[in-house]
Symmetry: C2
Subunit: 182 residues, 2 copies
DNA sequence: CCTGATTGCGCAATCA
DNA sequence: CTGATTGCGCAATCAG
């Protein structure tokens, strides 16, 4: 990296991107978003947010959804999907009813596939972004570490130089202290 | 890493872990590995290795595998799996035949589920580790940044002090240079 | 309500 | 062979 003296770190944080040649070489309907440069603000505003409900592949409340004509589709993993059961959601307060029972969408519908494909693209994009973010953080840490070592060396040099000058001055003060200037 | 003045960064890199309270609150057969402290060496030896073959959910060579009694199982995503086709793998040189045609394992066998479950556990563990690694890298970068600012301030102070002493010395040298001491 | 972005999970391929 | 990694798709949820 280019470092003129002892203070050129944190560059390329929100401007340049080193690798950018990430995976994304798949063969399955890969639209491959052009890997947008990702705004610098996005870089810092990243907090995992671990206080999520976290109930994915489990029933949890019998979740009424009357839509499972899973024919010839890929049929993801072992996710829920119960059948025939009244939906009282509209009559309950939002804070009390089950997850709302979304709009029924059969898994073999064109819309379903369209949504899935779009989400897959979004997921790839998001993960690519995350990967780049991690790489940048790693590089930033390395740069800062180098920078730090240089700065510490410099501090050591300056301190020693100061000690030398102080010693010289003290010597000169001993015999004839004629100058009033400090 | 002993420091006495302006060099106390990179601590807790391989010793302490702040949060460690990660997701992992699922309800689906969650063995939840105790989040081993992860050796400090593992932290640095991390290179994505993007030169992989990368051919997962696609046929790619008709890949002979006579094992798909996918009954009542979860049946993952749209992965390959062709049927009825002779396997000439044993008669071809290792460098010419298809991916070896592994040992046939039906998806509803107990062994399959056992392997899957073990892998799922390993995956969770690995991802947890990766998450912690990322968090640590982020914190390290922040610490290094603070440290850097302090060091730069210190360098500025020392430089100024040096200038002052140099000025004083030059003043003393002008009038009577009687002392031979350097 | 809809759409894109995130995130945890399981799967399969591959690495070590 | 076994555990560790990694890319992917799915579904739930978040954020506009």
């Amino acid at each position: 990296m280019s470092d003129s003296r002892v203070s050129s770190v944190i560059q390329e944080w929100g401007s340049s991107y080193p690798g950018q040649a990430h995976g994304q070489v798949l063969g399955s309907s890969n639209q491959a978003a052009p890997a947008a440069p990702m705004s610098p603000l996005d870089m810092m505003s990243y907090s995992p947010c671990q206080d999520r409900q976290q109930m994915m592949g489990l029933p949890y409340l019998s979740y009424t959804t009357s839509c499972l004509s899973n024919t010839s589709s890929s049929g993801g993993q072992n996710h829920h999907q119960t059948t025939s059961q009244q939906d009282f959601s509209p009559f309950l307060l939002p804070s009390l009813r089950a997850p709302v029972a979304k709009r029924t969408i059969s898994k073999d519908s064109a819309e379903y596939r369209l949504r899935r494909e779009r989400n897959n693209i979004a997921v790839r994009k998001s993960r690519d972004k995350a990967r780049r973010r991690v790489l940048l953080t790693q590089q930033r840490a390395l740069q800062l570490q180098e920078e730090n070592q240089k700065l510490q060396v410099k501090v050591g040099q300056l301190s020693q130089e100061l000690d030398t000058l102080r010693h010289i001055l003290s010597q000169r003060h001993l015999p004839g202290s004629d100058e009033p200037g400090l």
